[in-house]
Each structure stands twice: as C-alpha cells, then as structure tokens.
C-alpha cells in the first residue's frame, strides 16, 4: 500500500499571529537569528531568508468606514505535488521527495545553480552565505520519526494542522472551509483554508510553474544530465575564450535562465 501523503492544513481563521511557528522552526533547525529593522510593521523579517523557513504575514486593511481587517498567513514552501523546483533541479537528490510526499533539500548535493528559485511559483527557495538552497522541509526528520513538524507542535491555536492530506482536506471541507491548493500543481502539500481571496494573501490565484521551466523539463532535461554538463562545458569554453570579466557580465545579464 502506498504511503499516505502527509501535509498541512493551514486554517488562517485560527491564526493569532503569535509567531511561535517562526521561533519553533529556528529552534528545531538550529537557524541563526537575522538582524532585522523595525520598518513600521509587526511583520518581521520582511521576507523569508536562508535562516527563516516560515513566517507569518500580517495583512491589514480598512474599509471606508474604518472597519479593520488584520489577517495572518503562514508563508512557507507548500510542497507542490508537481514541484517546479524538483523538476528543474539538475543535481540529482538536491531536491527530492520523501515517502510522505515532503519536498526536502540536501545541501551536500546542491550545486548552487538557483534554477529552483525561478521555477517556484511561490518564490520560496533562498540561498544563504554558503550558496546552497534552503526552504521549509516540513521537519521531515521529525515526521520520519513519527512526530509532527516543530511549527505545528508549537502552534497554540491549531492553525497549523499536520496529518494525512486527504483526511485534513475532507475535514476542512466538512467544516465548510474555502480551500486553496487542493488540486493546483497536483495538489499542494500545504493546503490553505482562507478567509479572503488568495490574492489578498499574495498567493497566485492559479499557481503554475513558469513556462520557461517546461522547456527545461521537456526538451533539455530528457537529454539527461549530460545536457547540463554540456552547458557547463560551454561556459568553460566561454571563460577560456573571453576571460572572467565578460563571463560575470554575461551571467548577470542573462541570469539563471542562460542555460535553460
């Protein structure tokens, strides 16, 4: 029997923005603090960082009558069923899926190409000082040992519910929740129950993998990893021919898609 796909149901209506999830993640994963600046918001750090795998977004708005809404949303890797990052990653095993369906990274195998960054519809992967990929891995080490992810363990209001994906979805649907990510990209591993439209939370209405990625996946990658090394060889030739300065400019100008 196939292993049950595990995941999160994030019920934003229950979130109180306490950010125990942010801190618990750092504690379990031994992540350093980022030096942050108060810029006029409770939302800090202002973005995911190599040391921050999940964070709460604070979204406030007011209508003409001054009635305020303050929404809290847990931002993290959503562990797509059809994961652009995995699809595009040229380094075998650097991004792979566990038997529970979690998309995890392996820094040892990452070759710092950053293709995953452009392939992610949710702008999740980050590269730190070591130039290796990081992102939420749903505490696969804890999950593998039968425990729930650190963030969910710390969550006081059961906003982050971890378990068998199908069961979580069925329960949420039974409670009449509006779901995001049930079917997109072969189903997200992190499904949201939202109070507002996805755009309000900065989530793409219909998430999809950037089209340039299909070129990689469908045309280049079938050639096998040899294709990648071919590209590397081309770069080396380029370097020998034109020297380092021009290579840097070339890289800068074309960005990560240069080899795609």
């Amino acid at each position: 029997m196939a292993q049950v796909r595990m995941g999160f149901l994030v019920d934003t209506s229950r979130c109180i923005g306490c950010r125990a999830c942010q801190v618990a993640c750092k504690a379990w994963n031994h992540l350093d603090a980022d030096k942050t600046v108060e810029k006029g918001s409770y939302e800090n750090p202002a973005d995911l960082t190599p040391n921050l795998y999940n964070r709460i977004r604070f979204l406030e708005s007011a209508d003409a009558g001054g009635n305020v809404k303050w929404l809290f949303m847990n931002e993290r890797c959503v562990h797509c069923g059809d994961a652009g990052c995995m699809k595009v990653c040229p380094a075998p095993g650097a991004l792979h899926r566990t038997k529970e369906g979690i998309v995890v990274f392996d820094k040892e195998k990452c070759i710092s190409c950053k293709y995953c960054v452009s392939a992610c519809p949710f702008n999740i992967p980050r590269y730190g000082a070591d130039d290796k990929v990081t992102k939420c891995h749903l505490c696969f080490d804890r999950v593998g040992a039968g425990r729930i992810p650190a963030c969910a363990y710390a969550c006081p209001t059961q906003t982050l519910q971890f378990g068998g994906r199908d069961a979580l979805i069925a329960k949420a649907k039974g409670a009449g929740k509006k779901l995001y990510g049930e079917n997109a990209l072969e189903g997200l591993g992190v499904v949201y129950a939202l109070e507002e439209k996805p755009e309000v939370y900065g989530l793409p209405e219909n998430p999809s993998i950037p089209t340039s990625i299909f070129l990689w996946k469908d045309v280049v990658r079938p050639l096998g990893i040899l294709g990648f090394w071919g590209s590397v060889a081309a770069v080396v030739v380029h370097y020998v021919t034109f020297g380092s300065r021009q290579l840097e400019e070339d890289e800068k100008g074309k960005g990560g898609d240069a080899h795609g």
Partner: protein
Amino acid sequence: MTNHWIDIKNADVILIMGANPAENHPVAFRWIQRAKDNGAKILCVDPRFTRSAAKADIYAPLRSGTDIAFLGGMIRHILENRLYHQEYVAKYTNASYLVGPDFQMPGDLAGLFSGYDKKKGKYDKKTWAYQKGPDEVIRKDETLKDPRSVFQLMRKHYSRYTPDLVSSITGTPKETLLKVYEVYGSTGKPDRSGTELYAMGWTQHTVGTQNIRAMSIIQLLLGNVGVAGGGINALRGESNVQGSTDHGLLFHILPGYLAVPSADLPTLEKYVEKYTPKTKEAQSANWWGNRNKYITSYLKAIYGAKATKENDFGYAWLPKNDPGVNSSWLMIFDNMFRGKYKGFFAWGQNPACSGSNAGKVRKALEQLEWMVTVNLFDNETASFWKGPGVDPSKVNTEVFFLPAAASFEKEGSVTNSGRWAQWRTAAVKPLGQSRPDSEIMNDLFFRLKALYAKEGGAYPDPLVNLTWNYGYRQLDGTVRSVDIHAVAKEINGYFVDNVEEKPKPGEPPPKEKKFVGKKGELAGSFALLQADGTTTSGNWLYCQSYNEKGNLMARRGKKDPTGLGLFSDWSWAWPVNRRILYNRASVDLSGKPYLVKKAVIYWNANAVLPDGKLGKWEGDVPDGGWPPMGNEKDGKKPFIMRADGVASVFGPGLADGPFPEHYEPLECPIQENLMSKQLTNPASKKFADGGLPEDVYASCDTRFPYVATTYRVTEHWQTGVLSRNVPWLLELQPRLFVEMGLELAKEKRIRNGDMVEVASARGKVDAVAIVTPRFRPFKVAGGTVHQVGLPWCFGWFTPGVGESANLLTPTAGDANTMIPETKAFMVNVKARG
C-alpha cells in the same frame, strides 16, 4: 481567575476588555478558539485593534481610561431591558439591602458620594452603611422595589449612563456600543454564560479597582459568577504571579490574604478582633470567621517552637506598617527618591524599566547606599549607574549582582491564573554560578543570623526566631541546600500536637478517642487548622496541597467526568481543589443547576452518606458541603468569603465609592468630565502635592495633546530582560515603536517607518512610527481625540532597541490598590529631523 483557563471553552460569550490574550496569553487563546468552535461570540473592547480584535466577532474601540463609562452604560442597558437574572440578583447579591437615608450619589453631589472630606482627599464612609433592624440584621426588600434598596439606587446611579453620553465619553460609536451590550446582555438568560477576560488594561488606572467592580456588577446581574464559562477572570501576566500574590508578594498582605498588621494592633487578640468579620445574617458561613486559626497557624509555621501561647505565638515579631502608612510600589520609590532607604533588593525585577515614571525610579536608585540585584541577566536596574545621562563617578550606590537560576533550572510549584498549583521538576542544571532563589535566600538567612550572633544589633528576634527546617543541617547549624519539598510541606502545614475530635454541640462524647490529626502529620485541609497553636500552615489557602496522600500539585490525572474541563486530578487548585469559585451560586435554592448542560455542581438529594444522612454535592468541590440554601436549617448562602454570604453589588468597603463612577484619568484630553463636575478620582493619591519636579502632570495641555497607553507584545516578556537576550525574539520585534492612526500621522507629517519622538511631561523616547488603520481618532465631547500606544519591553541596556516607554508614564496610583496608572496618560509625537 474565579474560573480557569480551560473553562473559557464553556462560555457562550467572551468579553475581552482590559486584556489582549491573543498577544499576551497566546497559549490560552486555544480555549477561546474552542469556545468559538462551539458557537461562542467574541467581543473585544480596546483602544486599538489588536491581534485579539482580529479574531473577534465585534470590535469596539474605546478611549483609554473610560471603561467605567462603557460598563456603566452596559449596567443601565441590562437594567432597563430587564436582562438580569432575577432570582440570582435577589438571593445571591446584596441588591435587596436597604441603604441608610443619608447616602447620596454622584448624580446629586456633583460627582461625589456623600461623606467626602476635601481636605483629606478621603471619604468618611459612615453614610454608606445599610439600614439595620434592632437585631443588627440588615433590612432587605427582596422584591427589589424599595427606593433605598441597592438595586434601585444602582438603577438611579446608572440611569445617567445613557448610550449617547457614554459614546461621547468613550468615543465608541453608539451602534457598536449597543451591539456589545446586546450580545453580552444575552448571557443573563439562566441557561447561558458569559466570561470576562481582563489584565493590566483594567488594573493600571486611578480607577483600576472600580473598573473590575463595574464588571463584577454586570456578571452578578447576569448570574455569570460561579457558573461554567463565566466569572471574572484576571489573566496573569507572569507564569507564577498568582502564586507570588497568594504567598504575600504585596505590601499589605501576608500569605493567604491575611492582612499585614499595623502598629496600632499590638496584640494578636486585637489583630484578630479587627480582621475577623462578624455577622448576624442568617445562613451565612462567614468563612473569614476562621481568621484566628489561619494567622495562628501561620505564626506557628514561621516561628515554630518559639511561638507559644504565652508570647502571642510571636505576633510581636511580625513586621508592622505604621497606621495609615502606605508601603506600595509607588511609595517605595517615592521614599527612596527622598533618601529614606539605605538598601534595596531588586529581586527578579527591573524597576528602571518596569516602574511607572521610570526616570524618577532611576534617580531614586542613586540615593541608595547599596543595592542587591538578583536576576538572570544584567539589566537597566543593575547597571543604572552607567545608564544614559548618569555619571558613574557621582553615584555612590554599591551594587551587587547575584545570578539566579531560571524556572527551568529548579524544582517547585508554579500557580497559574486559574489557581492551579502545578509542580515542576528541574529540566536542566543552573548555568555557571547561578542558583535557585531559595538557595540564595538560604545563604542570606544564615549569614544574617551569624552576623547578629557575632555583632548583635537592633531587634534580631524576628529573624533569629524563624524556623528553617528545609534540609539537613551541617555541623555549624546551617542548611547546606534547600529541600523544596520541605518548603512545600511547611506551606501546607502540620499537626504539631495530637488534636482530638470535639463532640458536636448536643452530641455525647465518643466512646473512643478520635483524632482530627496526630502530631507530625501533614494537615489534610484548612478546615482542620486550629487557633491554639496545635497546627502550622505557611499559607492556609494551600493547606491540602501536600498532605499525607502526597504532593497533590504533582498529580497528572487526565480524567474529566463532567466534560467541562475541570480536570480535578490534574495538579491541585486552591482552595481545596475547587476549580470554579462561588460554584454554589451556579445552582438554584434547591441545588438544581441553572445551566443544566454545563452543571458545575448539583445537589444529589438521594445520596446516602456513611453516617446514614441523605444528600451530597456532585461535580466540582463545592464552596462548603452544607446543603443548598433552600434548606433553611443547614443550608448556607453561596458567597462564603463575604461576611453576609452574598456578593456585593454595592461595595461600601471601597475607598472611592460603593458604586463605580466614571472619572477621567489623572492626565486626560478634556477639560471637563462629561459625567459630572468631578474630573478625576477624588480619592486617588496626588503625588503632585509632594513637590517633586519629577511628579509633573499635563492634563488638557496643548503641549501633550494625545492620549497614550502602554502594552506588551507577544514577542517580548515584561521589560524584556529575558526576551531581549534571545536573538530569535529580537528578530521578531527589534526595537521600540509607537503606533498611531493615519489621520494623526498625516497631521504630523509622519510616514510609516519614520523615527519619531514621543514625549510626556516627564520624559521622552525615540520610536519607529507604525502608522496603521488599527488606531482611529475618537469622537469625544464633540471633538477629535487621537490616541497612540507603545510597548514597554525595551531599554537602553540592549544596544539599538530604544528606551523604556515607562519614562513617559506618571506616578499616579489607584485609590484602593495604588497600582500605577500606565494605561492612560498624555503625550506629544513629532517626526525626528
């Protein structure tokens, strides 16, 4: 809390006012969510739109310091629309009592109650007394129709609190006000319950006590006290502040809420006479009638064999206040500032940041000869001598720093807001030279004792006569290390002699001697404590917590037979493991629960007791085992800690009036109180008369036009001494900010993220502006009043985080408790160039 955390899930309506549990009690919010899952409505009343407000069904903004106006309007609404619980009000409160003919109220006396002495700034409460018959029994009218009844006086008093007037004072839109009143008022139906969650948002005002009393009146009118999902619930801001208060943290109470004696009570007899209430009311248990047993057992606990009947059990050794002298926090630092203290222990506290008017506090520290700080980390208090603007060469205070162990590094009990004393074991060993507080105190005791022995000194008796049986003694008589179980057992108490059971009046003596307890046994409950020196108890309220059955605080039973979340086998709650206080008020006169589906207790009339008698209570531990009140011979009234057995809608014991009345904060934005001619609380202490330049106030002063309040944030704890040392938490909230509305920011040309200066009459701080629609201008008295708010968790000791918001707050205290008014004061804000 009258109830407890888990019980919040049983509420039909939750009023969050004076608290912000989503941010300051996030773990507890799970029970609020649980109530919501069950269909409860959440109401949040707060000057700013908080993370709690974000989860509420209705949010009502109100100007800081106007809670009594808001609640007074609710009392009026409940009375006018007959939403109250008639039987409960008539039988279980003093609403039926008749008040004397000379009592007058603010509506007729320009904002004052009768008996005000302007010169003394105090009330003579003589006219507030009840009418009594020749038998000394209070005269009553249970139909509640007599114009001198508390009920009718209350109706008259609050008839002035019309929605329009309340809205004009509080700035709460009238329709929002009425929505809140309507939803909360719905809990007056006997089968519904509503709970109130408050914290420092209510206490830290010059009318703090009356804020809570106003809500207590509402809860009593609606029959919400004693029931599941009801009560008045103070959310404590520290994990063990309930325990500290129970054990005598405050200046005016000894452990177990026994009054600190004053010098005009020279003997134990005089003390007992003054503090033991007497009553002629029928069916009143008057539990405080046992005061003599508790004070005697306390004296026996601390002075042991040295406490004898002949020496008044050592009563003379207890420290005493001078009559009428107030030794509260504000007074300590006022006296320190005036050079009246030589030394000071800042034990587990950081007054240089936490104290209201922190600038004055910091200067006060400079007047000391010595200061000992006991803490986990160096902080603004320990290092005050090198703080901003201080020249270390001019400070003569000698400072000692003793590193303390964190709570995870030591064993002992922690009492939560719901009165659960929960035993914890040490998770890790203390780091470096840090030690548990008990070990530091142990050392201190024996060193002081040795010094007295060596050098003598004035009046060593109170110290050298203390018992100290907390572990094995070394050859020199000292205790090497404190056995915390021995401390817990002393708090519980022992029999120091055999105590025989006395025959009940009219019954023959038993053939065989029966014992209430035998010498050396731990006492099983405070009902067994004696006034003759045969028992000890360090805190009668905790008697039972650690008895011959073991350490009940360490229990971890998970049974919940009622489904209400009482979890009676989990830890232990004072008193006698009662989980919901005043639970005898949750049933009618026959013992039948008002809320059948959420029955806390009920009278099982058919139960057969071992002695053959019929009837017993089922469910939670009742407030005494007597039969229900309907049994006129043996039944008792439900509020057993009140001398008259009922709850006090009318509170003649308070310093500032028997009914809560709206007064403006000491610093306020309007010239006149719209409710009366009396602007501020007439009975609160005025430090302005003390002549210190530090004690300045600015009311209706164009230099400080905006209302300000202070608060905590989820991400930091207290003054931040712990959390500012955790980089992960500093990452979340990196520095001091000030929140303000879009309109004010526009007026002051401040953009979100700008550095601004916030100044009061006493000090100023730099803060980053958070410009947000969560703050809105209030329509008050026909004009616009802006409010700002800032957290008080920062201080100069941590580089780059900004200063303490308490540099802005005033030295002003509540009329009854002297808690500082840090939740409503006046400031200016301006953009930094």
